[in-house]
């Protein structure tokens, strides 16, 4: 480095101390925020910046000497510049989504759903989309630790070999295991081995976000363990009992797939399903519902009982009339509607609800003849007798636990504070934790082993219906992490130690010798293992008496607090994922935070406004959290997202939001009552991506009921008061080549955000951090606008994905002084970053405000590992330039070139998929060639529901929308 470089260093070093510099870093590269806490990391940061400084120096001279380093030996199937796709699957809380992963030169960069996998059908959730970023998280735990000190896998292996012997553990009286609900055939087999070897050992399945209740309900109703699976596509009438099956109460996106199928209405003749939702907080399901009843979660049991009685599923009791006349009318209409659709309706209860509610739901479905039609019961693989988490706590309390193996769980953070698990762990002699990050539990454990990311590991998973899928690594474990199977193998007593061997052995054992190899390859290729779906089971008649007896309605006291899996960090496991932290909550549009969601009325009675911090106290634990006022929230209910307030976490997630587990209960994990609320004087301004929630009577989202639509199929055009507009500029001729366009069906879209993250991953969209979101500088190329409408007491919410509309007369193009944004002959509104000087004139003149400006160098903080996630086919934008949706032009070009290489064949419809379209679980987004009259998009644009936003200013957007339809019950209007 030059002397000037030296000075640069020194001055920087001085700087790095100053608070000013620190919040500058925070602002400029959130990924580095709090990088400056420790001296050592500070030096790292400076090196990093000095490096970029050095490069800057290089580029100054006329021709920097660049090296090309070809591999000494090339790998099979690897053609530089050509992506390779592999099938794998991702497990979330015991339920898998099958995935196809795009890898560039051995780096996974993009995740898509696997069409062959029943848990995906080609779509995948925002969480799955973002999981690839987790792979390159520089804050992942990089090595095993013993009592927090760096150790090695070898040391651990030696220790484990010696520890997990009958000699040492006897029958395993003091040996306990703690894991997520297992949904992996090979692991389940391994568990069986372990428990065979140590019969007295106990196994606990711990889940912070409860999902088991559904099946416990089935067990309660039918007296046998059954896996209930629902078919929303076949239901004409759906009643959701506090169940956000379109959002955070489901672990895969299948319900969205099935539900939206029945919302997509081609013609006035076609039918449409109807959704009733009873819920405490305003969820995506509530937004999609035709009728929504805001009811505190604790009163849903009562509602379910009354309904059951109304329908004669339970013996009628006289005195169980709760709520006002409105609610009674609602209930009777629902009851009638369900009865009228016997066999074609569906009642689902949310995992937040206790088992009795689920039992009631099963009883109702049985009563309504839905079993075998919209509900099916499968017989899951036999599970061993499991212990409860509370039992584990008591056992530790009474020193009955000597060895505790925790596989990929973080109970110290995620268990209700009242369990005091952190302190308990200290009493366990050999606490062993396997985890991807050095989290709260790792910190409190004797041993921590760093877990491999699922994209680095061999393994298998089960979908909601039991279908097994293999996981295969796309890349060598970056930090030499290990899988649960590898850790468990020591206790299982078998010789294999590598997950590959364990997995292969397990599966080859399932198949006849002869076809073992071929089946193995097929399973790897397809991403599903044939014939592994759980067998269908005959549930028999529900035991109404038992259900009746258990479903006792208790009087609720005071305000209840409900907890829900956060759409971004789930239960905290994704807390360090910047993409997800910056993805707004689908309903509240809140980013980088969680809040106490409070109804307007409640807020008034409490005298609080958005951002005021309130203290919620329960059993000696107090949670201080800012308020966010949400219309539609049940008055006597406060909702808080899980997964925030991580103490021991990476740089992105540390100290973001508040930890709701402080006031949760071991007994009723879904919600608690009897919480005392007190105001504090403090405020915390919240970062939301949408500040105005009314459409101001503008015809942006056009909506009608099915009836109105049948009466006037062209209702969507009533608001268009213009005809034959002309432009002063010379208009483009669009004869040459295909003409790209997009249609988005607002009836199908549920607003799940999958498109937002998919776009972020595909197009290298940077994150900006909390402060910048507050300033209104988020960078998402596609956003989902959410407007409230209707009566403030019972508001409705509508969703609209908005990205660049690729106007044919684009206002941004005429005003750009340097022609950095111009029109392609195929109707794309091109954006040449390298030409942009950043006047922001185009963004000002964009009526949809979809253009995004790089106010800072947002990629500055990205280290070498972080860079690996970038899509090499898309430019990483620098500071000071404008960017926006390109209709995934890189994908268009790729396919066009491929077609050219194949002898200039024409492109097929659906060959080119935009990232948002490909992942959309509702298939609401359709992209294609408008010139081809048979293309799906061209046909959609012929539909009478098709309209464009702001057509009157003659910008001729290429993206159009299909008006939203609701299907209310005539009597509820």
């Amino acid at each position: 480095m030059t002397p000037s470089g030296q000075n640069y260093w020194r001055s920087l070093d001085e700087l790095a101390g100053s608070p000013g510099f620190r919040n500058w870093v925070e602002r400029e590269f959130p990924r580095l925020a709090s990088e400056l806490q420790s001296k050592s990391t500070r030096r790292k940061l400076l090196q990093l910046m000095a490096a970029s400084f050095g490069l800057a120096g290089l580029t100054a001279c006329r021709r920097p000497e660049e090296k090309i380093l070809p591999a000494s030996r090339t790998a099979e199937y690897r053609i530089p510049g050509k992506p390779v796709h592999y099938a794998t699957s991702m497990n979330l809380g015991g339920c898998a989504t099958g995935l196809i992963v795009e890898t560039h030169e051995g780096r996974p960069t993009k995740i898509e759903g696997n069409p062959l996998h029943p848990g995906s059908l080609g779509a995948c959730s925002a969480l799955a989309q973002a999981s690839v970023l987790g792979l390159y998280d520089p804050d992942r735990s990089r090595f095993p630790r013993k009592r927090g000190k760096r150790s090695s896998w070898a040391d651990y292996a030696a220790f484990a070999e010696e520890l997990f012997t009958p000699a040492r553990q006897g029958r395993g009286e003091k040996l306990w295991f703690l894991s997520e609900p297992l949904s992996s055939p090979s692991l389940e087999a391994l568990r069986a081995d372990v428990l065979r070897r140590f019969p007295a050992a106990r196994w606990v399945e711990f889940e912070s976000v409860p999902f088991a209740a559904v099946n416990r309900g089935a067990e309660l109703a039918f007296g046998q363990p059954l896996e209930a699976v629902f078919d929303f596509a076949r239901a004409d009438i759906i009643l959701s009992l506090d169940c956000d099956f379109l959002g955070h109460d489901w672990r895969d996106v299948i319900p969205i797939r099935q539900f939206s199928e029945r919302r997509r209405v081609d013609s006035p003749a076609s039918k449409m399903n109807r959704l009733y939702s009873v819920e405490s907080l305003f969820t995506l399901t509530g937004a999609a519902a035709d009728h929504r009843l805001a009811l505190p979660s604790s009163q849903v049991l009562g509602f379910a009982r009354e309904l059951a009685e109304e329908l004669g599923a339970l013996p009628r009791k006289a005195e169980t009339k709760a709520g006002g006349a409105g609610r009674q009318r609602w209930l009777s209409v629902v009851a009638r509607d369900l009865r009228e659709h016997t066999g074609a309706c569906l009642v689902v209860a949310g995992p937040r609800q206790p088992a009795p509610v689920h039992a009631l739901a099963h009883v109702l479905n049985a009563r309504l003849g839905n079993v075998g039609r919209t509900v099916a019961y499968l017989r899951p693989s036999s599970r061993p007798a499991l212990a409860g988490f509370d039992e584990l706590c008591q056992a530790i309390q009474s020193n009955a636990v000597e060895t505790l193996v925790m596989l990929g769980v973080n109970p110290v953070y995620a268990a209700p504070a009242e369990a005091g698990f952190g302190d308990l762990l200290a009493k366990v002699a050999h606490s062993i934790h396997l985890g991807a990050e050095f989290d709260e539990t790792a910190d409190a454990s004797a041993w921590h082993v760093n877990e491999a990311h699922y994209l680095e590991s061999w393994g298998d998973t089960r979908a909601y219906d039991g279908t097994a899928a293999l996981q295969q690594p796309m890349i060598q474990p970056l930090f030499d992490g290990k899988t649960a199977a590898e850790v468990l193998s020591f206790a299982g007593g078998q010789s294999e130690r590598r997950s590959y061997d364990i997995l292969r052995k397990h599966w080859l054992a399932q198949w006849p010798q002869t076809e073992g190899e071929s089946r193995w390859r097929k399973a790897l290729h397809d991403g599903v293992v044939e014939g592994t779906r759980y067998p269908l089971a005959a549930p028999g008649v529900p035991d109404v008496k038992r259900v009746d007896a258990t479903a006792r309605v208790a009087g609720t006291q005071g305000v209840e607090v409900t907890f829900f899996a956060d759409s971004s960090s789930f239960d905290g496991r994704f807390a360090n994922n910047g993409w997800l932290q910056e993805t707004p909550d689908p309903m509240t549009k809140l980013t980088w935070d969680n809040a106490a969601l409070v109804s307007p009325a409640k807020a008034q009675s409490l005298g609080v406004r958005d951002g005021d911090i309130i203290a919620l106290t329960r059993g000696g634990n107090s949670l201080e959290i800012p308020v966010l006022i949400v219309p539609g929230q049940a008055d006597e209910s406060i909702a808080i997202a899980l997964g925030y307030g991580r103490r021991q976490c990476g740089r992105v997630g540390r100290g973001v939001g508040q930890n709701a587990n402080l006031i949760r209960s071991l007994v009723t994990p879904g919600f608690v009552s009897g919480v005392t609320i007190s105001k504090t004087v403090r405020k915390r301004p919240l970062a939301t991506t949408q500040e105005h929630h009314s459409m101001e009577g503008r015809p942006l989202i056009r909506e009608a009921t099915l009836e109105e639509y049948r009466r006037d199929p062209k209702f969507a055009h009533k608001a268009d008061h213009y005809k034959d507009l002309f432009s002063l500029h010379k208009e483009h001729s669009y004869e040459e080549g295909p003409q790209w366009g997009m249609a988005i069906d607002l009836s199908a879209c549920v607003g799940c955000n999958a498109c937002v993250v998919a776009c972020q991953a595909e197009n290298n969209v940077p994150i900006v951090g909390r402060e910048q979101v507050r300033r209104g500088r988020e960078m998402h190329w596609i956003r989902v606008d959410r407007y409230y409408s209707g009566d403030p007491e019972a508001p409705r919410a509508v969703m609209q994905p908005v990205a660049c509309q690729h106007c044919e007369n684009a206002p941004c193009e005429t005003v750009c002084p340097v022609a950095a944004t111009t029109h392609s002959p195929e109707g794309l509104n091109d954006m040449a970053y390298n030409r942009c000087v950043g006047t922001r004139y185009c963004a000002n003149n964009c009526p949809y405000k979809v253009r995004r400006f790089n106010f800072f160098d947002l990629n500055k903080g990205v280290d070498e590992i972080g860079k690996m996630v970038f899509n090499p086919d898309v430019t990483v934008r620098m500071r000071g330039v404008m960017e926006k949706c390109t209709y995934c032009v890189q994908r268009i070009q790729e396919k066009k070139i491929q077609a050219r290489a194949e002898g200039g064949r024409p492109l097929k419809d659906g060959e080119i998929l935009t990232a948002c379209q490909q992942t959309c679980p509702a298939s609401a987004i359709v992209f294609g060639d408008l010139k081809d009259p048979n293309s799906k998009v061209a046909q959609l644009k012929q539909k009478d529901r098709n309209y464009v936003m702001l057509g009157e200013i003659n910008i001729r957007p290429r993206t159009s929308y299909l008006a939203r339809l609701r299907n209310p019950h005539p009597e509820l209007g």
């Binding site: 105005h692 929630h693 963004a843 000071g880």
Partner: protein, 460 residues
Amino acid sequence: MADLAMKNPLPPDVPLVLGKPSYGEVTDAVSRIVEKKPPRVWYIALAVTGTFTLILGAMLAYLVATGIGVWGNNNPVGWAWDITNFVFWIGIGHAGTLISAILFLFRQRWRTSINRFAEAMTLFAVACAGIFPLFHVGRPWRAYWLFPIPNADLGMWPNFRSPLLWDVFAVSTYATVSALFWYVGLLPDLATMRDRATTPWRQRIYGLLSLGWRGSARHWNNYEKAYLLLAGLSTPLVLSVHTIVSFDFAVSVIPGWHTTIFPPYFVAGAIYSGFAMVVTLMVLARKIYGLEQLVTMKHLENMCKVMLATGCIVGYAYAVEFFTAFFSGNQYERFVFVNRAIGPYSWAVWIMFTCNVFAPQLFWFKRFRTNLAVMFVISIIVNVGMWFERFVIIVTSLHRDYLPSSWGYFRPTAVDILTFAGSIGLFLTLFLIFVRFLPMISISEVKGIIDAPAGKKEAA
């Protein structure tokens, strides 16, 4: 020059110069200021404004090193104080050219004692204005792409459909022509300074600057021609520049910007603010340097009248804007103006109304028109008001346009504020340097309007 003024048929009703000074005395009165040591207040003022100029430099350096994010601009408010300041300064610039060119062609003899002053102000204002379009871009080091420079590697030209490009031409032309006009006007006086110089350095510098002016008949002849031509050349510019600046907004599709009355409205506003600024500075300079003799109350009163007139035009424009919005029946257009009146930025709008429409009404009364204190205060109020007018037009239109989902609110950062303060500092610094080293009143022209006793002429 002189004889042009002489040709004026109308005899001056009120003397434009008091106390019948001789040519020599006029020369003295003006030159003295430049020749003798400046008053203490000059040093103090320079210290203050100089500091702000340095702050401006620091802020711009920080901006270029870090990114536009150091300002409060966001999505949807892509332009805020940056372009507000640009339009503000360009506006200020207008009075100068108007006075020196248009009033000259209209034979307004009273302009002679203020035109030099006003033109200087124009130049400095344009200099300040130029900073903002340059630094408001995300990559200033690429700003040269806005100029049609032939380039072999890209073979690309700028987009001539973009109003920003028209700005580039309009503003640069304006700057060049006004600079020439001003300099040409200066020549005879520079020569005077040279001849009166007492130190070799002054003699050399003024000598070089005066380009060998010796006041010969031929010199005067060419001079008059050149001056007349330049006057003719700059006259259309007075109207064109702000018209084109207004196109930045009028040509867009954003409600509140997309308006046909912008050109006249902007020009009127520009002249309005320009005169306000002249009055502000003139009142001070006149007092400090005791120029009451040459800059009489009549001059100031005339300027107040111009302010009153343009102020009313601006007020009318405001009213018409609201009416058009209502009459258009366009819900987006209507909303913008309702939002201006009662929305989050209504405070700014009402400041604008008060300062620009109500305040100048005082000038209907001679009592106020001729009261230094009053006109000084009002001129400052008007400057404030005109800055807010631009702020209102730019920010309130952007912060809530078509899609309510992307509505936002703009808050300036310290950098925003300091940058603007810095630009004021730069403006005043340049001005102080001007009054220190150049004759702030056109000696030769003033002589043209006094009828001095014969035989004294050679004193020039």
